[in-house]
Amino acid sequence: MKLLIRFFLSCCVLLTVVSCEVHLEDDTRILVEGNIIDQNNLPVSDVKISVQTRRSSYNEGENQYILGEGYSNSDGAFSVISLYDGDEDFAIEIDGGDKYSTYVYKTNTINYTPTDLTFNLETVSLKKTATFNYNMIKTSGESNTLRYSFKYVEGFCLEYYEGTTLNEYQSLCYQERVIGQLLNDNNPDNEWSFRLPLGEVVEFTYSINDEPEITEIITINQDSYDFTFTY
């Protein structure tokens, strides 16, 4: 009986390992093309385009596999030849790097393969982004606390398509995000940064020693915005 159980478990482990492998379509190449502009309708060059499979819907992605890569030219146009995979998390990522927002086209290629094996994203608009660097420093005596949060619009847009139709419910485009923390004697300071579209506002809300909250609006008008707060 023990032998039977071991055999069964071995088969399960083997099946798990085998199922984790990504099997790409043999004898197939796809073409991904489009055009990239910024919010002023100017072409954006040297932006990295990557064709991915098994991509999560998060900003940074998670465990995705790269099937093809290329860059936009001086006119903002791109044309990338890639391998192909039928997968429910097939994606094309346009990564604006430090200067521009990131756009992700996502679809389920198990049910949908485009006509003529061409994904034409047409015109993709990226937003110029800025980096917001914040530094929270404790300068007061012991036992003072600071509870704070930043609300901002993330420089990330994911559009989920079912065939050729945009599914807004599963899309996440320039969504509001809130990050915050409680600082005290054990954890008095904090330094961090995040990216957001240039020209957007950051809503900074804080409360010292659990007193009523105060909100400040910060307009991000430079590529790298440094913000220091002492309490």
Partner: protein, 233 residues
């Protein structure tokens, strides 16, 4: 049965056949051959063989405005062939080998770094005798296939991806005889790969045909002193 399996099976059978038949007939007919010997550019009974087995290596060179010429850079390759002389110096052969390439432009092919092309083909040709110790051969692949194993992905969970193609090959070789049954060779092969890759219509021309040449060297072992048909006449 795939061509590759067919060729591999045939190679084993051919080797067994040539070892048994070739050696058995050799001793019986050596004296006959010597008495009727004649030497020309096209034929020499003294230098007749039954089988030639070649083993060697080659350097591939991708060329042209196609996915191979623009996307691949040749590294090395191996060859193994058995050819049987059917009548005089007219021969038919079976070949198996592989060519190894690095991907030099991933934007044109996909995100992988290496491509190994397995080559299996049947060929037909003729061998000329331009000098005492030289044999000049011309051959053409009459049926062949290629299997591209693409590997070297950024993630280990993608082991490989495959493309397939039909092979047209034209080859020229020169054998230098060190002894009656042992030679060294130098060859040049021109290969056209007609792929089965599904691509968007605007990429059809780029992917439909790939071209690469090979320059190879290696060793040749021959067995027997009479061609196939002469054995039955």
């Amino acid at each position: 049965m795939t061509l590759r399996l067919l060729i591999n099976t045939s190679l084993v059978i051919s080797m067994l056949l040539c070892a048994s038949v070739g050696f058995a007939q050799d001793n019986l007919n050596e004296s006959e051959s010597q008495s009727e010997s004649s030497n020309t550019f096209f034929d020499s009974e003294d230098r007749q063989s039954f089988f030639a087995i070649t083993i060697g290596g080659h350097k591939p060179f991708a060329s042209g405005d196609n996915f191979m010429g623009e996307g691949l850079s040749g590294k090395s390759g191996i060859d193994f062939k058995v050819q049987m002389y059917v009548y005089k110096h007219l021969f038919i052969g079976l070949a198996t080998g592989a060519s190894y390439f690095d991907v030099k432009n991933q934007e044109l092919l996909g995100s992988y770094r290496k491509s190994r092309i397995a080559e299996n083909y049947i060929y037909l040709g003729y061998e000329f005798l331009p000098a005492e110790n030289l044999r000049l051969g011309l051959n053409i692949a009459i049926d062949g296939d290629l299997n591209y194993k693409n590997s070297g992905f950024s993630a280990s969970d993608i082991a490989e991806q495959h493309d397939s193609a039909k092979l047209n090959r034209y080859e020229l070789y020169l054998y230098y005889e060190l002894s009656k049954h042992f030679m060294v060779y130098l060859d040049y092969g021109y290969n056209v790969s007609k792929t089965d890759i599904r691509v968007p219509s605007e990429l059809e021309d780029f992917f439909r045909k790939g071209k690469y040449s090979t320059i190879g060297i290696g060793l040749v072992f021959t067995i027997g002193s009479r061609d196939l048909i002469s054995r039955f006449l």
